[in-house]
């Protein structure tokens, strides 16, 4: 701040060099010594009074006006600025005695461990010291290496005698008192202590000699002061270590710790910092007085300890040494969600925002949002006055701030700001000049950002065009509900108004709704028709909807706002009366007039599809040909979201977003208006079951109950045939569950068949707008089995669910089967079971939101700075390469058309080309020619850039080959020459063949051209922040996953964790996962006996399982234990166990300390074990413990393997190994090690290496997501896996992993453990580059990715070459 007092007064303004715009490039963290604090401060604070009697801050008090303006009325005494101008100034507080800084306490301790407590030098021999110093000074060493080195040095410094001064050094550790350091000699004492003790024995008879010294801050300070610079460097201290000890406290400016008057100025409410500092001043002065007044030493020490605690509280009020503090220390201000880092630096409060309830309006375009007039009057946009808008803006100024299309402020070029309420509007309007800026009210067409929390992916905030409308809600087209995940049950949404033209353009281009129709998660369309739109489309396109001329024309006019022309098609039925079908209406909707050059071609199977393609009897095959709906009743698959070959996706890919958006607009208008007239409601008669259904249901339930009863009785008799890997109870549960599910399914099927087609729930479930067949059958037929935790209702009472049922009852009704429907009503017990299931769902949602939220945050922090560079590499902010080519082909996941991330949907594209390029009399190509043209074409695009990926090339070739074969087959069937094609008009058959599957050269050429050009346009653009997109794409589906799900890995009873817990395990890179499973392939996989032999060689077999008997034989001479093996069992289990091998196993057992001479094999199946020599008294016990332990000796198998299950898949056998130790499984005889997989990432890393671990991460995430029916582009998972492995070891996305991946202190501080990272950074004097996303946001600098990747370079004139010799004399 300019100091007005000291400002030099000159006749001319002094010349100040214009240094141009400056950008913070890096921040250095450091510590301040007492002296430096003093120099920086404006005032010494020593007065413990805050306000004087006149209610003004006292001089040298904590609110001294020299430390800045305290409130809006105050003026800074140092710079004379007011509250907004003065940034505040520091004061200082001199401590009488030094104290430790808690933040550095551990560092101080570590330093003390490494230095001599007498001379302050490092406890390393000279050559060691030199070696380590060299290593430490290595310019290539990064932070993690330096930290590791420091640790190594610390380990080396455990010498008890200082090599420099020869004095003794004990062990330094934290003293029992919380914040003190003890120097303990007890370990390093030799005989000398005894010597001393005897020498001193005469003083006191019972004296305990002190071997532990307390190192006070003063001693530590003096030690640190003695440390030479080089030693500091060895310990990675950038500055002097004495700074870690507090001698002066910097008192922060008044403005950061405001003081508030309460009770009409009688008393004041002080900030925590102020009150802590006040306490410190008090204690400090008491301590000084005590010292000066020569108070007893213990009192001084007490006071000093008190001071120490208060200084600790000032820094960190939650430190363990501070007993329940009521204040917030400095650390508390920084850390946590509401702290400075996350609450104020990473996310800031903004102006020009609005928020209200949302409601739907199908008459709006999908790109629009209706804003209430009330809101529009407050939200403004600063429009610059120019020749084009001066009249409009004059009008606005005349209207003023209260009349709607008005304005609030005028900004003059000199910076003054006029509020239109306080100036004369007429004169202001007439005085308006070019170059002024008018903050006018929001008007139609203005660019606004629209957002709903939780913002899980980038489509949660999109850019709309404003439509100012009456009433009080924000309104938008229902088609846009999906990306926001909004409904209208009282949701609120936020609105932001960008304030510059640049911001508007960028928002429109990057965040515009029309540019975000697809999700980058997998390229599926997200903005699409929902609910009523689907229902009405479904009803309109029914085969038996016919309209006469009047109603058809009326409906055509519903589509638009009477602005578009519509070409009425020829009626489908001309005679006996003219009738149009609903499908023709849809053709009009897609292509209203001939001028709209949209030729939609598409084939989709709807939910109701049954058979024989277009001729499907229930009309479920949707076929559009050149924008004409040929057949099919349209439902969710065609119009809805989450599909790649629906109508809107095809429009978007084949044409552009405008085509798709305008079609959506038309559909929304038509549907809403049509269904408003048609009516669609639901009533009690919709869920009344018919007589037939009731009988059928009763029969089914009776049959099912009987079946369950039979199962239970056979179970209680023990006659149940077990399923592989299950015990009897599990088998029973599985079978009963199967039967009960069957009941509901069949009841549901009958019910679906019985319902009339006009039944509203049926219509909704068929077209996919809401509800599923299960929902309907629950209402009409039978609610079905209630489950808790994936099982039938658990026992809440002793051996039964409710006291109504007999003990141990396993009947369907006693275990939560609800036979009634919602229509008939549930019985009391059924209702109770239903609430059990319901509660589980509620708890689940509550728990998973928190879990997935945290997961998303971690993923985002881990991946935020990954972006694509111009060389197609994926790098982090500091330029480290994470991937050389994004996703192995550099394609944008949002633009992928095919399934599984394939760039193009060739079938669809080919169909489109065939339909839009009619042969028009040109001749067909022969199969040979087609192949040749393709080859030529691919030849041309060979180079890696501008070419295809190998994968795609193969795909294309295969596709064309298929087409060629098809043509060949057709010709063969028509008995034409397969390879030579005659002219089309030469014969009837030739013509027919051409119609069926011929390709003309023009068609093939257009097809290949489109493939190539479209493929090229699907590459990711440089600068794309694919890291953030990837994080969102993995985090967002997490919120939709149910928390605890298991699924069977092939066999029942082999459960694999799925859902959020599994994803968490994977991205945390957990060492212990809940269900490790190794999938082992057998070398001979067609023989079940081989599989059994291999299984038994792996499965853990203990001695107890294969023995017939353990007997203690008490004989007079020597008692022993005799073991008899069950050889028949051993044979039937195919295990290779004999007495000799058992002897070996017993000998190798770690806990049984038996020697070879104690065990004797008597014969092949008998062993004799005598206990080791012991007291005869203890012999009995010895024998019994031995007998207890022997059955647990593992005689065969891998100890870490719990279970091995044989899995049969199409006649091939496979082993599923539950447990760890991949290496041992791979090494087992009969296992094909090269085809053996594990789901344990860390183990794969240890066993097979980092690349295998990467592959494993990708596969596991993919599998987990697939288990929940979610498709995520593999490129996102690749990126995540690459990030987790690119450092050479698997790093989890946790605070430990992230701190190893990233260097930036600010980023880490804004993530977790804020204070720790900051203290460590200042310990080692870190220089933090501002380049990553978090850092840039914190510093308020545009970041280096996305549009920020562009940098302007200036071409510099070539510098004259310097000559190193004088000019030649004669040239």
């Amino acid at each position: 701040m300019a100091r007005r007092e000291e400002k030099l007064r000159c006749t001319k303004e002094p010349y100040i060099e214009d240094v141009g715009p400056r950008r913070i490039k890096s921040i250095r963290f450091s510590t301040l010594s007492g002296e430096e604090i003093k120099k920086l401060a404006e005032v010494q604070v020593w007065n413990n009074r805050i306000y004087g009697a006149d209610l003004r801050p006292v001089q040298n008090g904590l609110l001294d006006p020299r430390m800045g303006a305290a409130n809006k009325a105050g003026i800074c005494a140092t710079c004379h600025g007011n509250f907004t101008e003065c940034p505040g100034h520091f004061g200082y507080l001199k401590l009488t005695l030094p104290v430790f800084n808690v933040g550095f306490f551990n560092s101080i301790l570590n330093i003390l461990k490494c230095i001599c407590k007498a001379c302050g030098r490092i406890l390393l021999a000279e050559n060691d010291r030199k070696m380590y110093l060299k290593k430490m000074r290595n310019p290539k060493a990064d932070i993690s290496m330096k930290n590791a080195l420091m640790k190594k040095i610390r380990d080396r410094c455990k010498i008890s005698v200082c090599p420099w001064c020869g004095s003794k050094n004990g062990v330094v550790k934290k003293a029992r008192a919380s914040l003190a350091i003890a120097h303990d000699f007890s370990r390093s004492v030799d005989g000398s202590i005894e010597e001393v003790r005897t020498a001193l024995s005469h003083i006191k008879a019972k004296s305990s000699f002190q071997v532990v010294h307390i190192l006070s801050p003063v001693t530590v300070l003096s030690l640190f002061k003695r440390m030479p610079e080089e030693d500091c460097e060895l310990l990675n201290i950038s500055d002097r270590p004495e700074k870690f000890i507090v001698t002066s406290i910097a008192v922060p400016p008044v403005s950061v710790r405001p003081s508030v008057f309460v009770d009409a100025g009688k008393s004041s409410n002080e900030d925590s910092i102020t009150s802590i500092l006040k306490n410190i001043i008090n204690t400090n002065s008491i301590l000084r007085e005590d010292l000066e007044g020569a108070a007893p030493p213990f009192k001084c020490l007490d006071c000093w300890a008190h001071l120490q605690i208060q200084v600790v509280e000032y820094v960190n009020s939650e430190a363990p040494s501070v007993p329940d503090s009521k204040h917030r220390g400095l650390v508390q201000r920084l850390k946590g969600k509401q702290g400075r880092f996350r609450g104020n630096l990473s996310g800031k409060r903004v102006e020009f925002t609005g928020r209200t309830v949302i409601s739907p309006d199908p008459n709006l375009k999908i790109t629009e949002v209706a804003i209430p007039v009330l809101m529009a009057k407050k939200l403004t946009y600063p429009e610059r006055v120019s020749a084009h808008n001066i009249e409009k803006l004059r009008q606005r100024i005349c209207n003023g701030p209260d009349k709607y299309p008005g304005a609030n402020f005028i900004l003059l070029p000199d910076g003054t700001r006029q509020h239109l309420r306080y100036v004369d509007k007429k004169t202001a309007a007439s005085e308006l000049k070019y170059g002024f800026t008018v903050e006018r009210h929001l008007e139609d067409g203005d660019v606004v950002l629209f957002n709903r929390q939780p913002s899980l992916h980038r489509m949660s905030i999109m850019c709309h065009r404003a439509r100012i409308m009456p009433w009080r809600t924000l309104r938008f087209n229902e088609s846009v509900c999906n990306p926001y995940n909004a409904d209208f049950d009282g949701d609120e949404m936020n609105l932001h108004v960008p304030q510059t033209e640049e911001a508007r353009t960028e928002a429109l281009m990057l965040m515009g709704v029309q540019n975000n129709l697809c999700t980058p998660k997998n390229g599926e369309i997200l903005v699409a028709s929902t609910q009523d739109f689907l229902t009405s489309s479904f009803l309109i396109t029914r085969k038996d909807t016919f309209y006469d001329r009047a109603s058809f024309s009326l409906m055509c006019s519903y589509m638009g706002d009477a602005m578009e022309s519509v070409d009425l098609p020829t009626p489908a039925i001309i005679k006996p009366i003219e009738l149009w079908t609903g499908k023709q209406l849809f053709s009009v909707l897609v292509r209203p007039n001939a001028r709209t050059r949209v030729f939609l071609n598409l084939m989709v199977k709807e939910k109701i599809y049954t058979k024989s393609e277009t001729m499907c009897p229930s009309d479920g095959f949707v076929y559009f040909r050149n924008s004409e709906l040929i057949c099919g009743q349209i439902g969710k698959t065609t119009l809805g979201n989450g599909n790649k070959d629906g109508l809107f996706s095809v429009l978007l890919r084949d044409y552009n977003s405008h085509a798709a958006a305008s079609c959506m607009n038309r559909l929304a208008k038509l549907s809403a208006r049509w269904i408003g007239n048609h009516g669609f409601s639901i009533g009690i008669d919709d869920v009344q079951p018919g007589e037939h259904l009731n009988q059928e249901k009763k029969r089914k339930i009776d049959d099912g109950y009987k079946e369950c009863h039979d199962l239970i009785s056979s179970y209680s008799k023990g006659e149940l045939t077990l399923q592989p890997g299950c015990n009897a109870a599990q088998t029973l549960e599985l079978k009963i569950t199967g039967v009960l599910n069957e009941i509901r399914a069949t009841a549901g099927n009958v019910c679906m068949k019985e319902l009339h087609w006009r039944n509203s729930p049926l219509i909704m479930s068929q077209c996919g707008s809401k509800g599923s067949p299960i929902n309907i059958s629950q209402m009409v037929a039978c609610v079905g089995q209630q489950s808790v935790g994936g099982r039938r209702a658990p026992n809440g009472f002793i051996d039964r669910t409710l006291p109504h049922f007999p003990i141990n009852s396993k009947t369907p009704a006693a275990k939560g089967f609800v036979a009634n429907s919602f229509y008939t009503g549930l019985t009391a017990t059924e209702f109770f079971f239903h609430t059990m299931g319901g509660r589980e769902g509620l708890v689940d949602t509550a728990v998973k939101t928190a879990e997935t939220g945290y997961m998303s945050r971690r993923l985002m922090k881990g991946l935020e700075d990954l972006s694509l560079y111009y060389d197609q590499t994926v790098r982090n902010a500091s330029g480290g390469v994470v991937q050389f080519l994004y996703g192995d082909d550099g394609m944008d996941p949002a633009k992928m058309e095919g399934r599984n991330g394939i760039p193009l949907n060739l079938d669809q594209l080919f169909m489109k080309i065939m339909a839009t390029c009619p042969p028009r009399g040109s001749d067909m190509l022969s199969p040979m020619e087609v192949s040749e043209i393709l080859k030529d074409r691919l030849e041309k695009y060979k180079s890696p850039e501008g070419g295809f990926s190998e994968f795609f090339k193969d795909l294309l070739t295969k596709f064309v080959d298929n087409r060629v074969n098809l043509f060949k087959e057709t010709r063969k069937a028509l008995k034409l020459d397969e390879n030579h094609v005659a002219r089309k008009d030469s014969s009837v058959l030739e013509n027919v063949a051409a119609n069926i599957s011929g390709i003309t050269s023009r068609q093939l050429q257009v097809f290949l051209d489109t493939c190539i050009s479209r493929y090229q346009s699907k590459k990711v653009e440089a600068g794309a922040s694919i890291g953030a997109i990837g994080a969102q794409s993995i985090g967002e589906p997490g919120t939709q996953m149910t928390l605890k799900t298991f699924h069977f890995a092939g066999v029942a009873s082999m459960n694999v964790t799925l859902g959020v817990p599994r994803i968490k395990e994977i991205i945390n890179a957990s060492k212990n996962i809940s269900t490790p499973i190794i999938t082992a392939t057998l070398q001979r996989d067609d023989n079940v006996v081989v599989a059994k032999i291999v299984r038994s060689s792996m499965e853990k077999t203990v001695l107890g399982e294969v023995s017939k008997s353990f007997k203690i034989v008490l004989m007079s001479s020597r008692p022993y234990i005799s073991i008899k093996l069950d050889m028949d069992l051993i044979k039937s289990l195919h295990i290779d166990v004999s007495a000799e091998s058992v002897r070996h196993s017993i000998l190798n057992h770690p806990k049984l300390k038996l020697k070879p001479e104690h065990i004797h094999t008597i014969c092949n199946d008998k062993l004799k074990i005598s206990p080791p020599d012991a007291d005869r008294k203890k012999l009995q016990f010895e024998l019994h413990t031995l007998k207890g332990m022997l059955p647990k000796v593992i005689v065969k198998g891998i100890p870490t393997v719990q279970r091995v299950v044989i899995n049969e898949k199409q006649g091939k056998f496979q082993l599923l190994v539950e447990g760890t130790n991949l290496l041992a499984v791979m090494g087992t005889e009969g296992i094909d090690g090269t085809k053996t997989k594990s789901n344990h990432i860390m183990e794969v890393q240890h066993t097979l290496g980092i690349e295998a671990a990467r592959r494993c991460i990708i596969n596991e995430i993919d599998e987990t997501m697939k288990g929940h029916g979610m498709s995520i582009d593999i490129r996102h998972m690749m990126l995540l896996a690459d990030l987790m492995t690119y450092k050479g070891e698997v790093l989890g996305i946790t605070r430990f992993g992230i701190s190893k991946m990233k260097e930036s202190v600010l980023m880490l501080a804004s993530f977790e453990k804020t204070a720790e990272h900051l203290f460590n950074a200042s310990y080692s004097g870190r220089d933090d580059q501002i380049e990553g996303v978090s850092e840039c946001i914190i510093m308020g600098i545009p970041m280096q990715l996305g549009t920020g990747i562009l940098k302007v370079r200036q071409r510099v004139e070539k510098l004259p070459e310097l000559k190193y010799e004088p000019d030649p004399i004669i040239s």
Binding site: D544, A572, I574, K575, P576, Q584, S618, C631, L974, V992
Partner: protein, 146 residues
């Protein structure tokens, strides 16, 4: 004179082979007499009821004008004389697919598919009958009971 694409007399063999799914529309199966063609056709039975055993003449024509001028696709005012005058039920639509029947029979059959605003027709028979038909051709289907 207008050149007809196909002309034959059919006998209705079955109504709604897969069960009645729609109130106003029925799918009929019919067998022709002359060329032994098999046909499936969706007919609006509400306005033109048909029954099993009915015999009807069916004609496919590219245009309704008697002089053979191609169809413009636009609505013509007034009761001009046309081909439709002789028929009771007339539909307008488009041929969208030609395929060979997937069977190992020696005489392969051709299937011709047309859609009349969602009312579908499938005509199966000898390839020679499909000589004049082209993909995406506009068709008028005319029926008269005999």
């Amino acid at each position: 004179m207008v050149e007809l694409l196909f002309e034959d007399i059919f006998i209705l063999t079955r109504l709604d082979p897969d069960g009645k799914k729609f109130d106003k529309v029925s799918r009929i199966e019919a067998q022709s007499e002359q060329f032994d063609m098999y046909m499936q056709l969706d007919v609006n039975t509400e306005i033109y009821p048909l029954h099993v055993g009915d015999k009807f003449a069916m004609v496919l024509a590219p245009t309704l004008s008697l002089d053979g001028t191609p169809d413009t696709g636009y609505f013509m005012q007034g009761g001009r004389r046309s081909l439709a005058d002789k028929f009771e039920y007339v539909m307008h639509g488009k041929l969208y697919k030609v395929s060979a029947e997937a069977s190992a029979e020696p005489n392969v059959k051709v299937e011709i598919y047309a859609s009349f605003g969602g009312l579908l027709m499938m005509l199966k028979g000898d390839p020679s009958n499909a000589a004049h038909l082209e993909m995406d051709q506009r068709l008028f289907l005319l029926i008269r009971k005999v």
